[in-house]
């Protein structure tokens, strides 16, 4: 699976570490790390929580890249 670099960029833009984002969405740091590495496909509920925390839309982070 491809890495999710957009998630990493959106997180970095808000100066959030993986741990900060994990705490914000109530998951472990390893979960955020796995999502960013492309090793795990989060459920839609988790995707929504992440997007809300980063003030972006689902398309911004999780839609296919051309």
């Amino acid at each position: 699976m491809a890495k999710n670099l957009r998630l990493k960029t959106a997180r970095a833009r808000l100066d959030m570490s993986q741990q900060d984002l994990a705490d914000a969405v109530d998951v472990t740091r390893q979960t955020i790390s796995a999502i960013e590495r492309g090793d795990y496909n989060p459920t839609i509920n988790l995707c929504i929580r992440i997007c809300k925390s980063l003030n972006v839309t689902l398309n911004d982070l999780f839609w296919e890249e051309d």
């Binding site: 998951v27 472990t28 740091r29 390893q30 979960t31 999502i35 795990y40 989060p42 459920t43 988790l46």
Partner: protein, 144 residues
């Protein structure tokens, strides 16, 4: 399972499933060996089964810890790993004072050793995971 997040639950299910399949395979091989070659490698059949289960359980523990799915979010892994390290070390140390192989068969005295190894696997897998993650983070920073 409520204290685990969705990724941890998924990993626990995944490696629980693999452990189950692994255990079935071990049981099948053991059963065939005893049926065809009349091999008995432990004092009793119960002990053989217990040891096979321990192998499968050990695999589950190592993979859960390595994938970050062993400890709840609320637990401090470092503290628990230290506790398990000492528990494991103590069990292993005590077990070496008694012989666990007799007449070429594993005896019940091996249970203490197995317990010790299982406890010990937790901090071992945790330390390896921390090391791998630190290296990965370092490589990510260098790539930037």
């Amino acid at each position: 399972m409520d204290n685990f997040d969705e990724y941890q639950k998924f990993m626990r299910y995944k490696y629980g499933a693999y452990s189950f399949i692994f255990l079935m395979l071990l049981i099948m091989i053991n059963y065939l060996l005893s049926l065809v070659f009349e091999v008995q490698w432990a004092e009793t059949k119960e002990l053989e089964f217990f040891l096979l289960i321990s192998i499968a359980l050990g695999y589950f523990i190592v993979m859960s810890v390595y994938k970050g799915a062993f400890f709840h979010q609320k637990y401090t892994p470092t503290v628990y790993s230290a506790i398990y390290f000492f528990l494991g070390l103590m069990n292993i140390y005590v077990s070496f004072s008694i012989s666990f192989i007799k007449d070429g068969r594993v005896t019940f005295n091996s249970i203490m050793l197995i317990n010790g190894v299982l406890w010990f696997l937790i901090p071992a897998a945790y330390i390896i995971r921390e090391f791998v993650e630190k290296r990965r983070d370092k490589n990510d920073i260098e790539e930037k």
